[in-house]
């Protein structure tokens, strides 16, 4: 017999190594298009980590929205701008900037160490292996009616439209405002002429 909980840590190690490695390459790479491609790889392996935590829906949306839609536009714009390779010299030649960067890195690694220590002291290994959780939701209009949802996607849908309906609607209005704003900015010249 093969236990999933035995593979999970190994897969997590691999995926997180890829995530951290590609995230570093995004920053350190001199070629902007290559950086963007490594950012895609970061998002992709992050999606893998989500999937490992049984959040299939979030994993799919991560790939679909970030890797598939947003990063395509970023790469597209980078290609159209035709940027040249960056150089690291400027930042490192300035002593003030250099000290600030070093200080930030030291502070961050200290914080990371402290938080790792804190999590180690708390309850160590609780790996919950949820394959298809069942949720029950009460509809607000009548106390009697209940919705039972099985599986990841249905649970996300139900909690979005039942528990968090108002925030969801507010976000959609925000997005609508953003869309109208984008159209107005894009049409600025046409409006002035007409």
């Amino acid at each position: 017999m093969l236990n999933l909980t035995e593979i999970q840590p190994i897969l997590f190690m691999i995926l997180s190594a890829v995530t951290v490695g590609s995230a570093l390459l995004v920053v350190l790479n001199k070629n902007p298009v290559a950086s963007a491609i490594f950012l895609v790889l970061t998002f992709f392996s992050l999606a893998g980590i989500y999937a490992l935590m049984n959040a299939i829906f979030i994993a799919t949306m991560q790939v679909l929205v970030y890797a598939g839609a947003i990063m395509v536009l970023v790469v597209f714009v980078l290609m159209l701008l035709n940027l040249r390779e960056e150089t690291h010299q400027e930042i490192w030649s300035n002593p003030t900037k250099k000290t600030v960067i070093v200080l930030i890195v030291i502070a961050y690694s200290f914080l990371l160490l402290v938080s790792l220590k804190a999590t180690k002291d708390s309850d160590p290994t609780v790996i919950t292996n949820i394959t298809s959780p069942n949720y029950e939701y009460k509809l607000s209009d009548s106390a009697e009616s209940k919705v039972t949802v099985t599986g990841n996607t249905a649970a996300v849908g139900a909690s979005t439209f039942i528990d968090y309906l108002l925030p969801f609607e507010i976000i959609s209005i925000l997005l609508l405002v953003a869309v109208i704003g984008a159209v107005i900015i894009a049409k600025k010249d046409a409006v002035k002429k007409g």
């Binding site: 999933l4 070629n31 491609i37 949306m61 679909l64």
Partner: protein
């Protein structure tokens, strides 16, 4: 989680891979034969009986050609691009259900330890969304190929193709929303089961969604009448101008694979998938196999449609393509979503009642 289960998965994946590669090879042959028929000439008929070994000859040709690297290409990106294309094309196949659950013969069932086998490699909760996630990644193959080749025509082709694929992903996704509304699930198996009584093409919102989907489908696979990415008369062959030998073959196979994937998706979403019509052999053990045959028949029809359209219609102009995508298809999709919601809540049961 049994080792045997993993072995069966691995076997299924390997078998699927073999089937896709062979299918694509013969799809290219079929394309040329159909082109020959439509243009009133003989297609390839030299290699083997009826030209059946033509794909094999093509494969050997691609493998043995010289590997050429043009000057000043970004080598890593230049090599990664075709790999991305083919990986995305293959991965999309992992969630397509080709049939229902098939009972194994007793001997095999005892050997592996479970009585039935699903004709599907993976069945994630997000189903059709997973497929869109994968196919949205395939844009990178084209965009990187265009950019890394260090060639104006390639870059133009890559940019055109990317803009086209981003634009047509919207109507494609919105017409799938209709199917999700009608079936109430993202899982492809459940979408298929929801069409047991009535295929979605026979409902009004489903009919509109099918036409939008099929237009967007041609644009997504970069086929005529929307193959502006590789418009021969303007851009040589677009994003893969600088690619030769097997690197070109990978783009070529990926394109044909995407076409077969789209044929599978359209027959699953609108044409009842692997359901057996009129309840033939209902309850029998043979029914899933008959369903598989029906599914393959539908997929072959849509695969033929791709070739039929390619050799019949002329190419669109680029501005016409964008106007069609953004100003015609998307408003129709939004209208159709309202229609579909109304249909699901109010009219659905009466309309279904007529057929049952």
């Amino acid at each position: 989680m049994d080792w045997m289960l993993i072995l069966v998965w691995a076997l299924k994946s390997a078998l699927l891979f073999f089937i896709i590669i062979t299918g694509c090879a013969y799809y290219t042959l079929a394309e040329r034969v159909v082109a020959g028929f439509i243009q009133d000439r003989r297609g390839p008929n030299r290699a083997g009986p009826l030209g059946l070994f033509q794909p094999l000859a093509d494969g050997i040709k691609f493998l043995t050609k010289e590997e050429v690297f043009p000057v000043n290409v970004n080598k890593a990106m230049y090599l990664i691009a075709p790999a991305i294309s083919i990986v995305c094309a293959i991965m999309a196949w992992s969630i397509i259900p080709f049939g229902g659950t098939i009972p194994l013969p007793p001997v095999l069932a005892n050997a592996v330890g479970f009585p039935t086998i699903d004709l599907q490699v993976a069945n994630p909760n997000t189903g059709i969304l997973f497929m869109f996630a994968i196919s949205s990644l395939s844009v990178y193959g084209i965009i990187l190929a265009g950019w890394s080749s260090n060639n104006k025509y390639s870059l133009m082709g890559g940019i055109r193709s990317t803009a086209q694929m981003i634009s047509y992903e919207l109507p494609l996704g919105l017409s799938v929303v209709i199917v999700i509304l009608l079936s109430g699930s993202l899982k492809l198996t459940e979408i298929n089961d929801a069409q047991k009584g009535l295929w979605f093409i026979f409902t009004l919102p489903g009919l509109i969604a099918f036409f939008i989907f099929s237009v967007a489908m041609f644009a997504e696979t970069n086929r005529l009448p929307f193959d502006l990415a590789e418009a021969e008369s303007e851009l040589v062959v677009g994003f893969h101008t600088e690619y030769g030998a097997f690197k070109f073959a990978l783009f070529f196979i990926a394109e044909y694979m995407n076409m077969i994937t789209m044929s599978c998706v359209v027959s699953l979403l609108f044409f009842g998938g692997y359901n057996v019509p009129f309840g033939i052999l209902e309850g029998s053990e043979l029914q899933p196999l008959v369903g598989l045959a029906f599914f393959i028949g539908k997929v072959l029809f849509f695969a033929f449609l791709f070739m039929w359209v390619r050799w019949t219609l002329p190419r669109f102009r680029y501005d016409q393509l964008m106007v069609l995508g953004w100003k015609k298809l998307i408003p129709w999709c939004l209208f159709n979503i309202v229609l579909a919601s109304t249909y699901v809540v109010y009219w659905g049961k009466y309309w279904k009642g007529i057929f049952n």
